[in-house]
Symmetry: none
């Protein structure tokens, strides 16, 4: 059967804005207050009083989501049904576009030693070489290996020892994400593994990868530390129906960091990079493209970065910066405005967490007046309750009056 | 596997009353208050303080339910699993009983013109002819067409241009709801479509329908406006297990409007029409039959009608009328009393909506004292939380002590 929501879609001229403050939800730090409670947010407080509030759970109770599942769920996709492979996510994060014909994999430069005719891994991260070193070495690899047979090879340096490799085939080869084994054995003093395919299709890919690795070994052997390359997470762009098809929405992503633009492009959004990393620059970009789309996803990264650093005041500062810019969004009079995160990143945990994420939805069709602020504790009192993240899109479409009645 | 609840049923002499104030949930109108907040309801307030409160979601977050799914869910059925076809619902709404052997369809009288040997639709609604005209024309059709071969035909006039037609076959012919195409192309200046069956069974029905339409065309051709009949939504009574079978309940529906008696009869309830449309007459009927059933579903329509008219004070007035009559229900000392709606109909939206519906359950086994009134905002504080509508029946059975323990 066709997806229920898709079968009820009707189009209109409404505009929906979804603001994602990455890692928004938090926990109390020293003063017993969460980052949202520390922040002084007069504009958000005012909006919260007039909005529907609640919290959402990206994957399941107790499950800490990565950026991929967190965002896919926000876009209305079941994050357990649609999974983005590690290789693909890493590659998207480096700003490389991934197409249907690509097999992407993430890599580590590593240090190996020859012993009794065997190659043994001594350091899986090549002593965390500086990013500059990585760039030099990756450029050398790329110059020397442009193709393996009829397969284009793209080597994209990341931070420190991290790298992504894309194998671009002449035509699409459907290969499951566990059909080629990692070459990284995840331990030292042992040999790197040889990549093999679990079926003829995957083996066709694995054969190219083996050839690539032999060439890479040759090219890297003069390097002191990064004299080897370990690969893991062979993956392909997942087959995901696009947002236009599912929800009838012309969608735009405004995000400074490539990974978020990459995830958005996987579901068919157009993507735009703001001039700079600040909240202001992200939100000002919205004004320039307001007429051209139905749905706008704006991504603000720094809430998560400060959370990961264990810096509650820094995170609160970004929330305050957002609060000051909020009137610029309200000026546009979106029909539906949602403000939330893709997951929680409590400063006390210095990382992503499983905690439900605060959610605010503003439209003319809310009950409102349940809560005085936009904080975790105030969201608990709200009319939305605790919902699965993937259902938020239903609510945004409903508030935009873009869904017909079900049944007579 | 057998349904969990069904496997746990134990019978006793308890009595359960479910009052449905159609379209009960609302949104703030001018004064920032919802219809339930505007209404003065001393009796409901008192009951709310002693009851379990919450809100329920009939189909899914953001999905606006029709009356069919809303009521089926209240009766404990999954509204996505059991769907009532448009033709069947329309026919039930006109007070025609639908049996296993019937194919029902809704129709529009339409205006067609002959042009170069083609019949073109000029007005899909025959200029919205008066209901009186419709009755005259439908009676003429019915007099002239009693049977097509061995199939009985029932023509039931609705309002303005609307009509329902039932084809009663000598034996049941299972036909899926999309197995015969509509004849209404949903646009003008084009020819009506010919009904065809997607499989031999459906084609057997379609052949009878085509014969019927040729006869109808002949009979209607002298009419000025309503000179044609367009059909859509061929459907059959869905196969639904009855409430006695699922829940061991002898059930009665008391409803003035035929559609609600019709939906109740689909799940095997006995049905009773009160003397009049008022809240009082509906509730007084309960006293007359109190000894004969276990489960009583009372339907009060006017909350929804005022909501659809965009009249919050009118809707609040019906709620006040209900409040005044509430003691008459309490006099009967039901073991479990539930008061709710089948969906929300906020006056500001002038139609059904996706908003969660307030729910009150009273029994000796509630926590209570969470809330001072029976309103959307006070229900948010209640002990039931936000639940899927189809789970309410579990709660009613539990509070009636009609469910055994699961597992040892």
């Amino acid at each position: 059967m066709k997806n229920l929501v898709t079968s009820l879609i009707r189009k209109n001229n409404s505009k929906i804005v979804l603001i994602v403050l990455d890692g928004l939800g938090g926990l109390p730090s020293e003063e017993g207050k969460t980052e949202l409670e520390i922040a002084k947010t007069p504009n958000l407080d005012n909006l919260a009083y007039r909005s529907a509030l609640g919290l959402h759970i990206p994957v399941d109770w107790g499950i800490t989501p990565g950026s991929g599942p967190g965002h896919l769920a926000l876009f209305g996709y079941d994050p357990l049904q649609y999974q983005i492979g590690r290789g693909v996510l890493e590659t998207l994060g480096l700003g490389i576009e991934i197409g249907e014909r690509d097999i992407a994999v993430r890599g580590n430069y590593a240090t190996v030693e020859s012993k009794e005719g065997k190659l043994l891994i001594k350091d899986r991260r090549a002593g965390r070489i500086p990013t500059e070193e990585n760039r030099r070495i990756s450029a050398k690899l790329q110059e020397n290996i442009r193709r393996i047979e009829d397969v284009e090879v793209i080597v994209a340096p990341g931070l420190e020892h991290r790298v992504a490799v894309v194998f671009r085939f002449p035509q699409a080869l459907p290969v499951g994400s566990d059909e080629i084994n990692d070459t990284d054995p995840q331990k030292t003093d042992t040999e790197p593994l040889t990549p093999k395919g679990r079926n003829p299709q995957a083996e066709r890919v694995a054969r190219i990868v083996r050839k690539f690795l032999r060439r890479a070994e040759e090219i890297l052997k003069e390097e002191k530390k990064a004299n080897y390359l370990l690969l893991r997470g062979f993956s392909q762009k997942p087959k995901i129906p696009c947002m236009e098809e599912l929800f009838g929405l012309k969608s735009l992503c405004i995000a400074f960091y490539p990974m978020y633009r990459g995830i958005a492009s996987l579901v068919g959004m157009k993507v735009l990079k703001p001039a700079g990393n600040s909240v202001k620059e992200t939100i000002y970009t919205l004004h320039e493209v307001w007429e051209d789309y139905d749905f706008f996803f704006l991504h603000i990264k720094k809430t998560d970065s400060y959370g990961e650093d264990g810096n509650p005041k820094g995170k609160a500062g970004v929330i305050e910066e957002f609060d000051k810019t909020l009137p610029k969004i309200l000026d546009l009079k979106p029909d539906v405005l949602a403000i939330t995160g893709d997951h929680s990143t409590p400063s006390v945990l210095k990382g992503h967490s499983w905690h439900p994420v605060p959610l605010l939805i503003n439209s003319p069709y809310v009950l409102g007046r349940t809560s005085r602020r936009f904080t975790e504790r105030e969201c608990l009192k709200g009319e939305i309750g605790l919902i699965p993240t993937k259902k938020i899109m239903n609510l945004l479409l409903a508030h935009a009056l873009r869904l017909k009645k079900f049944g007579a």
